[in-house]
């Protein structure tokens, strides 16, 4: 009941501040940018390239699965930054402004407060992401080749885990600090740090969450779910759950002054 109250209030807020408009739009642009530019590159170069007459442009023929992966890699870079940016104030902002004083003097359970906000933000992000990836899948199938529905749904679902992890990391820092900017910086820093760790110890950390996309690439190429993808998913989900409970704990410990 209380959980749903906060969840609905967040949803109303996303309508009022037009998040439900701009987040899907930005995500769609992000997802279709690469398929479109890749397909039209020869024409674009021809029109604006100013190449000498008679120059022959030969670009490698991209596989449809690679193009879809390009969409995902946009999410891994710019997408992550957007997600952190729209999540970094979700609790920290309310604490900084002081609204939290009026909310938490009511008998609100801290776990409800955090998890409902987490779920609301995930709804916004995952719905936008699904629409965006569907658009990308549509363009890929008409401009390149068709990708099987099953493979697409698997890609969509497994990659969603990475986005959920990003949101959860940001929520965790939200419960720790009350300056949204700092929350954002630390979240991005953590994700970059994870990438670095993964790059250095990749041979040992086969199930590290950052490997999700490379296993998804395998999945798209072979059409079968690699065993390591299950392992990585398991690790990612465990990390998400652990961070969420850690958030409840730190928020409880924290004084809200």
């Amino acid at each position: 009941m209380q959980w749903l109250t906060i969840y609905k209030k967040e949803m109303l807020e996303y309508w009022r501040n037009f998040s439900w408009v701009w987040v899907p739009v930005v995500f769609i642009l992000l997802a279709i940018m690469d398929p479109l530019t890749t397909y039209y590159m020869p024409i674009i170069l021809d029109k604006v390239g100013g190449l000498p007459d008679g120059a022959v442009i030969e670009l490698p023929q991209m596989a449809a699965t690679d193009v879809l992966m390009m969409s995902l890699s946009e999410f891994s870079s710019i997408g992550v930054i957007i997600i952190v940016a729209i999540t970094m104030g979700i609790i920290a902002g309310e604490r900084k402004s002081g609204v939290v004083e009026l909310v938490l003097v009511k008998p609100v359970r801290y776990a409800n407060y955090i998890s409902s906000k987490w779920a609301a933000k995930l709804t916004l992000i995952l719905v936008s992401y699904t629409i965006a990836l569907l658009t990308s899948w549509y363009y890929v199938s008409i401009l390149f080749e068709e990708i099987a529905l099953l493979a697409f749904v698997q890609t969509l679902s497994f990659y969603a885990l990475w986005l959920i992890l990003v949101v959860t990391i940001t929520i965790f820092y939200n419960t720790l600090l009350k300056t949204p900017g700092l929350v954002g910086a630390l979240s991005v820093g953590t994700i970059i740090g994870m990438t670095a760790i993964n790059a250095i110890f990749s041979h040992k950390l086969t199930w590290f969450p950052n490997n999700l996309s490379s296993y998804i690439r395998q999945l798209l190429h072979t059409g079968e779910i690699p065993t390591a993808l299950w392992g990585t998913s398991f690790v990612t989900i465990s990390l998400i759950v652990a961070l969420l409970f850690l958030s409840f704990y730190t928020f409880q410990k924290k004084e809200l002054a």
């Binding site: 209380q2 009022r16 609204v99 009026l102 938490l104 609100v108 004084e255």
Partner: protein, 300 residues
């Protein structure tokens, strides 16, 4: 109903609230009076559960052990911040539901309190457009929405203009019938106006407490204000020599004689003035006020 035992709060080792103990009985309106920085806000924030006391105990009678104290209290911070994108009614329904009211009940209560605090006509306006006084009244409504047994208001009138101040004080006067009120203020006249008893706080400690009547009886003494043509100071020794005058204080344009027995003192002063032909320009009998008590406590 509400018992506070040895409440202490330290920030980085410095005690902001020291060993505060008091109890509140139902239906009381109590003012927590003190200068800025006396520890009033910190005390209220501990009672509302926003801050954890370093030591001490807060007991609420009739509460199951381990139950959430926040169900029984309402709190209005000194500078209440709302979601400005919500309307007044939406906000009240929201916090009402957070306090475990059903949606229908929350709506009903929201309308009732919007009317009660006098902002019913603005209920569908965004809070961002509310004036300071309207926000303060919405703040009181949100504190009352779940009909708590006690509400705590932190400086409810300090930031308001005279009209808003009057309105909020009248509102508090009405709410007294319904719930126990604990409010902080640094203005004595506000405290005297609506509270039944006072807790005087200074540097984190409760230095004096009691009902208004008790405090007046305890601290009020008679005084005689005298002014002379010419220098007042010349007459201090003469006044001090009179046995019923216990103290002579120099005020701006007059001398304040604190007296033990008003009747005797008046007779002796007037008799002496008559025989020595003092150039009196003012002779006034009055009482020391709580204001003077307040100032005495705060300045020591």
């Amino acid at each position: 109903m509400f018992n506070i035992h040895n409440l202490t709060k330290k920030f980085d080792g410095t005690a902001v609230v020291k060993d505060v103990s008091f109890s509140l009985s139902p239906g009381n309106c109590v003012a927590l009076l003190g200068a800025n920085g006396a520890g009033k806000t910190t005390t209220l924030r501990m009672l509302s559960g926003l801050l954890k006391p370093t030591s001490g105990k807060i007991e609420f009678e009739g509460m199951r052990p381990g139950a959430d104290i926040r169900e029984h209290i309402g709190y209005l911070p000194q500078y209440p911040i709302f979601h400005n994108w919500m309307t007044g009614k939406e906000f009240l329904v929201y916090v009402g539901q957070l306090a475990n009211l059903t949606k229908a009940n929350a709506k009903e209560q929201a309308d009732y309190y919007l009317e009660r605090v006098g902002i019913l006509e603005a209920k569908n306006q965004r809070i961002g457009k509310y004036s300071g006084g309207m926000k303060q009244r919405l703040g009181i409504a949100q504190a009352m929405i779940h009909r708590p047994q006690m509400i705590m208001l932190d400086e409810p009138v300090s930031s308001l203009d005279p009209i808003g101040r009057r309105e909020v004080l009248t509102l508090m006067e009405e709410l007294k019938q319904q719930t126990t009120i604990l409010f902080s203020t640094h203005i004595l006249s506000d405290a005297e106006e609506i509270s039944d008893s006072l807790l005087l706080m200074h540097q984190g400690e409760i230095v004096e407490s009691g009902s208004l009547v008790e405090l007046r009886d305890k601290h009020q003494s008679a005084k005689i204000n005298i002014a002379f043509k010419g220098l007042n100071e010349e007459f201090i020794p003469n006044l001090e020599a009179i046995s019923d005058v216990s103290d002579v204080i120099i005020d701006k344009n007059e001398l304040i004689c604190i007296v033990k027995d008003l009747e005797k003192a008046r007779q002796s002063i007037l008799a002496q003035a008559n025989t020595e032909n003092w150039p009196l320009t003012k002779f006034e009998v009055s009482q020391t006020s709580l204001e003077e008590l307040f100032m005495k406590v705060v300045q020591n």
